[in-house]
C-alpha cells in the first residue's frame, strides 16, 4: 500500500472526460464576436534579397481589414536566447528559407485572407543558397547572417579532465561517426492562436503554446507593450514536444493585426506550414572517440558534432551545448572533450525536440559502447553497470546526480526481458539490444538570464471550504500536468482529488516557465505543494486558536481533521458551521469527525479568503565554465530499455516486437501518466529510428510536408511495451518526483541499433533504419 492518499495512484485524469467527449476547447474551436481571419505570406525561395513588397492590391480587396509587413511591424529582433535574437516578425532585407515570413493580412473570412495574400507583390533577387553543413562552411559560401562568418551560429569548446593523457592509459580506443535526420515532431494540433487587443489597451493572446510566459515576454518586447498589458492564455493543446516552446510568427502577426484593426484575429498554421516553421530536432553529425581499460573502465570521450541549424537560432545555442553536456552521465567518465558547431543553412530553423540535443548523441555513444563491450568480450549490460554512477555522484561537467535509479532500471529490464536467455542466443534475423539514458528534470536556469522564480502557484479555498482552487500558469499540453498538480495539491492539503479544481495556462495566474525541459512536475509541483501546505497551515492555525490545540498535534487527511492526541470537543465549531447552513440537508451528524470543509469555513470566518501561495526556483547549480548552465538541473531522470526485434533478411524490414522499458521518475505522481509518457517516448523513438526524415528538394522546399509522407509510427507499428516504474525518491523533487517526459526517449534509438546488430551482425551509423537502408547494408556486406 502506498503511504499516500492521492499521489502515486492511477487516478483518472481530470481532463479525460472533456477530451473523450469533445467538450475540451482547443484554439480551432474558439470564435469571438467580430473576429477576423489572418493569413501569412511566406517565401517561395530559400535565399533572396527582397527588392520590394506591394500590398496595395491586397488592401483594396473587399473584406480585407489590414495588411502588414516589416514597415508596420518594425525591426525589433527576437528569438529564444537573448544571445542570439536573430528574427523579426517579417523579413525586411532578405528571406533565408522557403517559408520565411514576409507579410500578413486580416480579413473577414479565411477565403478572402488567402485571396489577399495572392495579391501581394514581392520582387526578389534570388541568391545562392546553402543547405548542408559542408556547403554552408565552405570558402566563399553565401552568408545568412552577416555577423556570423562561415555561417557558424554557435560553437562550443569544452574539455573536462585531460582526454589525450587519458587515452594513453587506455587499452582500447574506438571511433565512430553517426548521423540522424531532421525531424518533425508531428504533434496532432498545428500551431494556432487568437489575438484580442481590447479597448482598454490590453492584449490577450489565446494560443496553442507550451510556454505562455515566454510568449508573453516576447510579445511585450517586440510589440512594445508593458508585460502587465499582455496576457497569454493557453486553451487545451494538442502537444508540442518542444516546437511550441517559443513565440512563433503567427502569434506575433495576429497580435499586430489585432492592434491595427481593433478586432480579434485568428491565425493557424496548416500542416505544411508546421514543417516550414520547423524548430524540431536538428540533424546532428557526431564523431566520438572513446577510450577504455581492458576491464571496461571508461576513461575518456572525445566528441565532435556539427548541427545543421537552418536559417535562425531558435533554441540552437542550447541544443549545441546539450549535445555535448548530456554525455557527462550516467556513466562515470573522468575526461570529456567536446567541440560542437551549429551551422546556419537556408532551411527552416531547427530547435528543441523531446530529449533536446541529446538524442542523436546518446544513440551514437550507446551503440559505440556496445561495440566496445563486444571487443572486450563483456556483456553490454555488465559494461554499463561497471561504469554506472550512483546517487550523489557528480559528472565531470558538474551535473549532480542527486538521485539515480539507473542500476535498478538496468536490472529491471534485464530481468523483465529475460536478457540472459536471449542475448546472443536468438536465431538469425532476431535480435535483442539495450541502452540507457538520462535527462534533466527541468533546466536549471531560465532561457533569459534572470533570478525569476521558475514557477508560482496560488491556492484559494472556496468560502464553504469544500473546494480548493489551484491556479498556476503552467502548461497542460496533453502530458497530464494539470492532473499531476491537482493530485499534488490534494495530497499536500489532505483532501480528496475531487475537492480540487484547477485552472492553468494563463499568465494572469502567475509566472511559470512552461512545459519544456521536463520541468513542470518538479518545479511547478514544488510551487503547488508549497501553496497547499500554506493553505493547510492557515486552516490549522485557526483551528488551533479555536480548540486550544497546537498545530503540530493536528493534521488533515482524506478531507478530515486528524487529532494526533486526544480528540477535543469541537461541537461548538460544528454548531457554528451548521448555523451558517440552515436549510442544508447535508450537514454533518454529531458522531462524524470534524471535516476539512467545516474547519476551512471556520477559518474563512476568522480570516476572510484563505489563499496560499507557493514558488520555486532551483538553487545555484553547475560549474563556472562557459556554458556550464546548460545541462544543469535540480534532478535527473534516467531509464533503460531492452528492445526485441526481427529483421526481414530479404527486404530489410524491421519489426519491433517487444520493448521492456524501465524509467526512474523519482516518485510517480500518477502511475498511468508516467506509463503514458514512457510509451509515447517509445513511439517517438521508434519513428525517429526507423521512419522519420524531413526531406527537401534541391531548392530547399520540403517534399514530404504532410503526415502521409512524413511517416510517424501508427498503432500497428507499436510493439508491446512492458513499462516498469522505478522510484528513487529524489531529494529535490516534490514528494520525491522528477521527470519522465523527455528522458524516456533516450535509450530507444540505440537499443534498436544494438538489437539490429544482434539480429544481422551489422552496425548502421545513419538514421532512419528504413528497410532500404538495412537491405543496402546487408547487400554491401554480402558483396564483401
Amino acid at each position: 500500500m502506498s503511504q499516500y492518499d492521492v499521489i502515486n495512484s492511477r487516478a483518472t485524469r481530470i481532463d479525460s472526460q472533456d477530451k473523450a467527449t469533445g467538450r475540451a476547447v482547443f484554439i480551432d474551436d474558439m470564435k469571438m464576436p467580430g473576429m477576423l481571419y489572418g493569413a501569412i505570406l511566406q517565401s517561395p525561395l530559400a535565399h533572396a534579397e527582397i527588392l520590394s513588397i506591394d500590398t496595395s492590391a491586397a488592401k483594396k480587396l473587399p473584406g480585407v481589414k489590414a495588411a502588414v509587413t516589416s514597415q508596420e511591424a518594425g525591426l525589433i529582433k527576437y528569438g529564444v536566447s537573448p544571445a542570439r535574437y536573430d528574427e523579426t516578425i517579417f523579413c525586411y532585407d532578405k528571406v533565408r528559407h522557403v517559408g520565411d515570413n514576409i507579410a500578413a493580412v486580416a480579413a473577414t473570412d479565411l477565403e478572402t485572407a488567402m485571396a489577399a495574400l495572392s495579391l501581394i507583390k514581392v520582387e526578389y533577387r534570388e541568391m545562392p543558397a546553402v543547405f548542408t553543413v559542408e556547403e554552408a562552411m565552405s570558402d566563399g559560401a553565401p552568408i545568412l547572417h552577416e555577423e556570423y562568418p562561415r555561417n557558424i551560429c554557435a560553437e562550443v569548446h569544452q574539455e573536462f579532465g585531460d582526454v589525450e593523457t587519458a587515452f594513453k592509459e587506455c587499452d582500447l580506443i574506438k571511433t565512430t561517426s553517426f548521423v540522424n535526420k531532421r525531424q518533425d515532431a508531428a504533434f496532432i494540433e498545428p500551431q494556432g492562436c487568437i489575438a484580442d487587443y481590447d479597448l482598454s489597451g490590453t492584449l490577450t493572446l489565446y494560443s496553442s503554446t507550451q510556454v505562455p510566459h515566454y510568449v508573453q515576454r516576447t510579445l511585450a518586447m517586440v510589440l512594445k507593450l508593458p508585460v502587465g498589458k499582455v496576457r497569454v492564455v493557453k486553451p487545451y493543446v494538442g502537444a508540442g514536444f518542444g516546437i511550441k516552446a517559443a513565440a512563433n510568427h503567427i502569434e506575433l502577426a495576429a497580435c499586430l493585426l489585432s492592434m491595427k484593426t481593433g478586432r480579434p484575429v485568428k491565425m493557424n498554421f496548416d500542416r505544411e506550414q508546421v514543417f516550414l516553421h520547423g524548430r524540431a530536432r536538428h540533424q546532428f553529425f557526431h564523431t566520438m572517440t572513446t577510450g577504455v581499460k581492458k576491464d571496461g573502465t571508461l576513461m575518456a570521450l572525445k566528441h565532435e558534432c556539427y548541427l545543421n541549424g537552418g536559417a535562425y537560432s531558435s533554441f540552437g545555442i542550447a541544443t549545441v551545448y546539450y549535445a555535448g553536456s548530456l554525455l557527462g552521465g550516467p556513466y562515470r567518465l573522468p575526461n570529456m572533450k567536446y567541440d560542437g558547431y551549429r551551422i546556419y543553412t537556408n532551411l527552416p530553423a531547427c530547435g528543441a525536440q523531446r530529449g533536446h540535443g541529446g538524442v542523436a548523441a546518446r544513440a551514437c555513444w550507446e551503440q559505440q559502447l556496445d561495440m566496445i563491450a563486444e571487443e572486450l568480450g563483456m556483456d553490454p549490460i555488465d559494461l554499463r553497470l561497471k561504469n554506472m554512477m550512483v546517487a550523489g555522484d557528480v559528472t565531470c561537467n558538474d551535473l549532480n546526480m542527486s538521485s539515480l535509479g539507473m542500476k535498478e532500471c538496468i536490472e529491471a529490464v534485464k530481468e523483465g526481458s529475460d536478457w540472459k536467455n536471449k542475448k546472443g542466443r536468438l536465431p538469425k534475423g532476431k535480435g535483442i539490444g539495450m541502452a540507457c539514458g538520462f535527462f534533466v528534470s527541468g533546466a536549471g536556469y531560465p532561457i533569459y538570464r534572470s533570478d525569476t522564480y521558475h514557477g508560482t502557484a496560488v491556492i484559494k479555498l472556496t468560502e464553504d471550504g469544500g473546494t480548493a482552487l489551484v491556479y498556476t500558469a503552467s502548461a497542460e499540453i496533453g502530458q497530464g500536468s494539470d492532473t499531476a498538480f491537482a493530485m499534488i495539491a490534494a495530497e499536500a492539503l489532505g483532501i480528496p482529488l475531487e475537492c480540487v479544481r484547477l485552472e492553468s495556462g494563463d499568465t494572469d495566474f502567475g509566472v511559470d516557465l512552461g512545459a519544456y525541459s521536463s520541468r513542470q512536475t518538479l518545479m511547478t509541483g514544488h510551487a503547488v505543494k508549497e501553496a497547499a501546505e500554506s493553505v493547510k497551515l492557515q486552516v490549522l492555525e485557526v483551528l488551533s486558536r479555536e480548540l486550544k490545540i497546537p498545530v503540530y498535534d493536528m493534521d488533515i487527511k482524506k478531507g478530515v481533521i486528524v487529532f494526533k492526541k486526544e480528540k477535543p470537543d469541537f461541537s461548538g465549531l460544528r454548531t457554528r458551521y451548521i448555523k451558517e447552513h440552515r436549510g442544508w440537508t447535508d450537514n454533518p451528524a454529531p458522531e462524524e469527525d470534524l471535516s476539512f470543509r467545516e474547519a476551512s469555513r471556520i477559518a474563512y470566518l476568522a480570516k476572510g479568503s484563505i489563499v496560499g501561495t507557493g514558488k520555486y526556483k532551483p538553487p545555484e547549480l553547475g560549474g563556472k565554465f562557459k556554458g556550464a548552465t546548460v545541462g544543469t538541473s535540480p534532478a535527473y531522470g534516467c531509464s533503460a530499455q531492452v528492445v526485441e526485434l526481427s529483421v526481414d533478411m530479404e527486404t530489410g524490414q524491421i519489426a519491433i516486437e517487444k520493448m521492456t522499458d524501465a524509467h526512474d521518475c523519482g516518485r510517480a505522481i500518477n502511475r498511468t501518466s508516467v506509463e503514458g509518457q514512457m510509451e509515447g517516448s517509445v513511439s517517438m523513438g521508434i519513428g525517429e529510428a526507423l521512419y522519420e526524415e524531413v526531406k527537401f528538394d534541391d531548392k530547399g522546399r520540403v517534399i514530404n510536408a504532410d503526415l502521409a509522407e512524413y511517416k510517424i509510427p501508427t498503432a500497428l507499428d507499436m510493439p508491446h511495451v512492458e513499462t516498469i516504474i522505478v522510484e528513487s525518491n529524489e531529494p529535490n523533487g516534490p514528494f520525491g518526483a522528477k521527470e519522465v517526459g523527455e528522458g524516456a526517449i533516450m535509450p530507444t534509438i540505440p537499443a534498436i541499433l544494438n538489437a539490429v546488430y544482434d539480429a544481422v551482425g551489422l552496425r548502421i551509423f545513419e538514421l532512419p533504419l528504413t528497410s532500404e537502408r538495412v537491405w543496402t547494408a546487408m547487400k554491401i556486406r554480402a558483396k564483401g
Partner: protein, 293 residues
Amino acid sequence: MLLPKFDFHEPLTLPEACQMMSEFGRKARPLAGGTDLMINMKKKIVSPEHLISLSRIDELKAAQCSGNMLKIGSCVTVAELTESELVRKNCSALCTGAKALGSPLIRNLATIGGNIASARPAADLPPSLMAYNAKVVLKKSSGERLVLLDDFFKGPGLTELQADELLTEIQIETPPPYSGCGYINMGIRKAQDCNIVNVASFISLDAPDGLIKTARIIMGCVGPKHLRACSAETFLIGKKASEELFAQAGEAAMKDCSPIDDFRGSAEYKRAMVGVLTKRTLAMAYEEVRSEN
C-alpha cells in the same frame, strides 16, 4: 487548406448521373469516397466546377454473385470489401488488399471504384483485381462498354474513362478450381502508407497437384501504371510449383518492371523487392491452392 468553389450535384439514379456527366463533361468529376479527390482539390491539383456525388445511387453499392460472375458496384466501400464473405471466399487477395488500404477511417469512405479510377500506380486494389482478370463497366447515357482492367490503365492518373463515362461496376469471373492468389504491399511502416512496391500473383493448376496452367503477376509502383510480369508469367506456365520455381519467377519479374528513383526508394531497391514479393505472393497463391484441396 480550403476547398475551391464548386457546384455539388447529388443524382439519385444512374441515368441521372450519366446525364450530368454528359452535360458537364470535363468540367465535372464524379465524387465517390473523396479520399483522393478532396485532397487533390485542396491542393488545387484539380479544380472541377462540378462534383457529381454518387453516394445516393443504391445500385452502385451492391456486391453480388450470379453464376460464376462476381459483380461489385463501384461505390462499395473498402471497409465493405474487407467484411464481405463473398469477396473473401472468391477473391481472398482482394480482401487482403482492402485490409492493407489506408486506415479504418479511410476504408470507411474510400470505394473500390475510386481506388481504380484514380489510377495511382501504388494503389492497393488494382494488383489483385488484375490478377483475377477483372473487367470494369464504363457507362454513359448512350450505352456502356466492358473493359479489361489490364487495358483500363493508361498512366498515372490516366485511364480509359471518357469525360462522360462513369465506372459503375467491377466484374470478376470466379476463379477456376485449383487456383489461388496472393497480395503483399510493402511500405515504410505497417499501415497508412504509400506503397514502395506491391505485387499480386495468381496461379491456377491443371489438376490438384498438377502443373501451372495460368499465371498472372501484377506489380505496382514500378512503372507508370500497374505492370504485368509477362516473362515471369510465361516462365511459370507448364511447370510444377515449388519454392525454387517461385524464386526464379521473382528473378524474371525483376526484369519485367521499370521502377524509378524517387524519395520513397531507389529503383534498385524497388526492383529487388519486386523479386521478393513476387516469390512470396506466388507462395501465398500456391498455399491457397493447396488449402482448398
